[in-house]
């Protein structure tokens, strides 16, 4: 009994030394050393030392902890070694993930500089402020639209390409290619597609270029995107009757288009449709374009894993192609769809680059992630920025929980 207590005390002591004192002292020596060195030492010497000493840091850390634990009583050693390997990971996770998360939640209850407690005021703002309401509306549009469209296109492309006799790999790599372009790159590309120049300048945007170079003016002359005829005459698009270029990313609704001008107030459908946020949808297209390839690859792998016999059996029983897809293929790839949907939902909640590069949130096209940044850096309001961050965080929680429970349910089967 007494021996047991002694052992336990001893192992606690070892634990404190191995997991707290030793790493702390080791870390502090490094920190102090480099702090002093960086003031005086030559830059190249510093870089070399940082690589040498820095890379051996973890090695020496584990070596020391290992040595210390070996002094502990035998029956505790196994548990301690386990803790030794998990410990640094948990420590780093709490330092870089848990601590900032808790700090953000804390700050969301304070004012713009994080000085005075203001309760739920930032959250009240986030559900009443018009710009926030628009941002939340856009976020919902994105969540529903992007996730559904990517899954739909991904499924269709994967299923159809699976049927191809030749060139499946080529076809799939073409669809997958946008995934290899960075989000910023794709956004910049699409920005050129949607680009607008004031008349009479040459339209350099793809859509406006096509738009203004077709048709004829009222006086019967051709419209053109400032092209030249053989005898050097310029064909512009400024005459009456030619199509007018449109600033696509600045259209927050459809009301500037002929179909929706002078609407009959009784026509509820057209009136609702005229409020469709065009620029938000045009930006969503960028993300759909980028992620369809990803969904396709995952679905394609899942479809290929379906045993051929089952599909054959369905055919022999006389099921149509659509029936086979719905009743045979779908149940098989359902969990894959859920995984892809989860990934997409989280990606959309974090979506930032597309809006940041194209409109930066102007003309009611903002998203939560950009709004969070704006509140902090543009309006210098820490509290509101933190509140938006917490809202994004809260939106992600149910999806994570859903996945955890689904995994558990599958494991029990």
């Amino acid at each position: 009994m007494e021996n047991n207590l002694k052992n336990r005390l001893f192992s606690t002591g070892i634990r404190i030394i191995a997991f707290a004192l030793f790493p702390l002292i080791w870390f502090m020596t490094q920190a102090i050393l480099f702090r002093e060195l960086s003031k005086t030492a030559d830059r190249w010497l510093l870089i070399t030392l940082a690589i040498l000493v820095g890379s051996s840091f973890i090695f020496i850390l584990y070596l020391g902890m290992n040595k210390l634990i070996s002094y502990a009583p035998n029956q505790y050693q196994e548990a301690l070694f386990g803790a030794m390997f998990v410990g640094p990971a948990i420590f780093l996770l709490s330092l870089f993930l848990f601590y900032p998360a808790i700090r953000t939640i804390y700050l969301s209850f304070f004012d713009n500089r994080g000085e005075n407690f203001i309760g739920f005021e930032n959250y009240r703002w986030s559900i009443t402020d018009p710009s926030m309401l628009i941002t939340i509306r856009n976020q919902i549009f994105w969540l529903v639209g992007v996730v559904l469209l990517v899954i739909l296109f991904g499924l269709v492309v994967a299923y159809l390409s699976d049927r191809l006799k030749r060139g499946e790999a080529f076809f799939k790599s073409i669809i997958f290619m946008p995934m290899a372009i960075s989000a910023v790159g794709s956004s910049a590309m699409y920005k050129f597609i949607y680009e607008y120049r004031p008349p009479p300048l040459t339209q350099i945007g793809l859509i406006n270029g096509l738009r203004v170079s077709r048709g004829f003016a009222d006086d019967g002359s051709k419209c053109g995107n400032n092209t030249f005829t053989d005898n050097g005459e310029k064909i512009g698009y400024t005459s009456d009757g030619c199509e007018v270029p449109v600033g696509w990313l600045q259209q927050r609704d459809l009301q500037n288009f002929p179909l929706f001008e002078n609407l009959d107030p009784g026509n509820t459908f057209l009136n609702l449709l005229s409020n469709l946020p065009l620029n938000t949808i045009l930006l969503m297209i960028i993300m759909v374009w980028m992620f369809t390839g990803f969904a396709m690859v995952v679905f394609s792998a899942a479809i290929k894993a379906i045993p051929e016999e089952i599909v054959e059996a369905g055919r022999i029983d006389g099921a149509s192609e659509g029936r086979i897809f719905l009743s045979v293929v779908m149940p098989y790839i359902r969990s894959t769809i859920i995984v892809v949907a989860t990934y997409l939902t989280i990606s959309v909640l974090k979506a930032f680059d597309i809006v940041f590069v194209t409109t930066r949130g102007d003309f009611e096209s903002n998203l939560l992630a950009v709004k969070m940044l704006d509140e902090y850096f543009k309006f210098l309001n820490q509290g509101r920025s933190a509140a938006v961050a917490v809202i994004i965080f809260i939106c992600v929680i149910p999806i994570i929980l859903l996945n955890v429970f689904r995994n558990k349910a599958e494991n029990t089967i």
Partner: protein, 436 residues
């Protein structure tokens, strides 16, 4: 194992003991928004190179497109540069209020000389509770309208000296089947600032001039005051009169401000330019197409924004940058002293390394004949006179709280451009209500 660690530590600590003396070879880092390899960044570095030759202090200028967010993060993390160059004084005051900056008086700056040289108005922009934290750097002129003299002469147009003359000229151009104004205010994440600039220029020339302008910026008069409403109405006259702006009212918010003037350089089938007048700040030539840049000062030049109400002295609207200092090392102090002397701008103004910077010194004692370009010389003369006469006013939206100056004011001006004159009251009421 243990022995080798101690050995290593010993060697490292010996290496650490090495010290320099004097300011020779000391390094000072300046961080700002103009890109390091852009015209302004290169010019600033050229000026510091001259300083290094004299004193041996190595000053490095580093610029970043995301300067404001980066410097914010650096301040919070306790790792700021030695000197930061902010594009607006408001950010300097914010950093000072949060206790990050060293007051100018603690940097061995002769405050009386500083006030005389840079005008007490500019110095005041960097003050918090009467303590100056910011150093005035460069200023630019916004109260100008760009035009092409040859096109004006060919048609017998005179440069309008008053608002009414400008409107009469616009009507005449319109009647002759052409478009008077270029106007584009789209700007990623900042759409609307061009209209706020117009408002400020109009405010300086209506009501009680600079006096009512200051009241407006400091919110001593409400945002929906009749003087402000009058200014918005005049602006709306430009934006919403049929045929006044290129591409019509719809095009105003879609046109990127940097491309807005391009129609002026285009010629239609009859040889007429796409527009005749473009009110925009002195930095806009940087956005022109290459061929147009060559004609700066000859083919394309500017006239002062016309007077509106008679009896008001001429005023100049402008903007400028301001630096703040994060430590009081002797080397930093020496750099501060240099930046407050007229010598600092010599290299920038004379375009010593062909960088092509069009920055104008905020130092009223700087010899304006030194500027390399006649256009800059003319602007510098206007600015210098305005500073000396205390009729220079800083971009008001930069000095309003960010929720207004970078928020509702921009947004509501964009809405006004889209929705037309009937929206003026709503726009001004919304801005008034958003004032924190």
């Amino acid at each position: 194992m243990r022995k080798s660690i101690f050995g290593l530590l010993l060697i490292l600590s010996m290496v650490a003991i090495a010290c320099g003396g004097g300011l020779e070879g000391e390094e000072v880092l300046m961080f700002g928004a103009p890109a390091t390899d852009g015209p302004d960044g290169k010019a600033i570095q050229a000026s510091f190179d001259a300083f290094e030759e004299e004193t041996g202090i190595i000053v490095t200028y580093v610029g970043s497109e995301n300067f404001e967010s980066e410097v914010q993060a650096q301040m919070e993390a306790g790792n700021p540069p030695d000197i930061a160059l902010w594009p607006q004084p408001g950010a300097v005051r914010d950093a000072a209020e949060r206790g990050f900056l060293i007051p100018m008086a603690d940097l061995d700056v002769d405050m009386d000389a500083y006030r005389t040289n840079f005008s007490s108005y500019l110095v005041g922009l960097g003050e918090v509770d009467g303590v100056a934290y910011g150093g005035a750097h460069a200023v630019n002129l916004k109260s100008i309208v760009w035009y092409q003299p040859a096109e004006f002469e060919k048609r017998g147009y005179a440069i309008p000296a008053t608002w009414d003359e400008m409107i009469a000229l616009a009507d005449q151009i319109l009647a002759e089947g052409m478009t008077p104004f270029c106007f584009g205010m789209y700007s990623n994440g900042a759409t609307g600032w061009l209209a706020t600039d117009w408002m400020e220029d109009i405010m300086l020339r209506t009501g009680e001039g600079t006096a009512s302008y200051d009241q407006w910026v400091n919110h001593d008069i409400p945002f929906n005051d009749p003087i402000v409403k009058n200014a918005a109405t005049l602006l709306s006259q430009i934006m919403h009169t049929d045929g006044y702006v290129v591409g019509g009212t719809d095009a105003i918010v879609s046109t990127f401000f940097g491309n807005a003037q391009d129609p002026m350089f285009e010629r239609d089938a009859n040889g007429n330019p796409g527009c005749f007048m473009h009110r925009q700040a002195s930095f806009i030539p940087g956005f022109w197409p290459e061929e147009a840049k060559e004609g700066l000062g000859t083919e394309t030049t500017s006239f002062p924004f016309p007077a509106i109400e008679s009896g008001l002295p001429p005023a100049a609207l402008g903007a400028g940058d301001m630096w703040g200092v994060f430590n009081d090392r002797d080397a930093t102090k020496a750099v501060v002293e240099y930046m407050l002397s007229p010598d600092y701008f010599t290299a920038i103004a004379t375009n010593v390394n062909d960088a092509g910077s069009t920055r104008i010194s905020a130092h009223t004692g700087f010899d304006t004949s030194l500027y390399w370009s006649p256009v800059v010389q003319a602007q510098a003369a206007v600015l210098s006179d305005a500073l000396a006469a205390n009729s220079f006013r800083f971009d008001g939206s930069d000095n309003m709280p960010p929720a207004v100056g970078a928020g509702s004011f921009w947004v509501e001006m964009t809405e006004l451009a889209v929705n037309g004159p009937s929206y003026i009251d709503t726009a001004l009421d919304n801005i008034e209500n958003s004032w924190p």
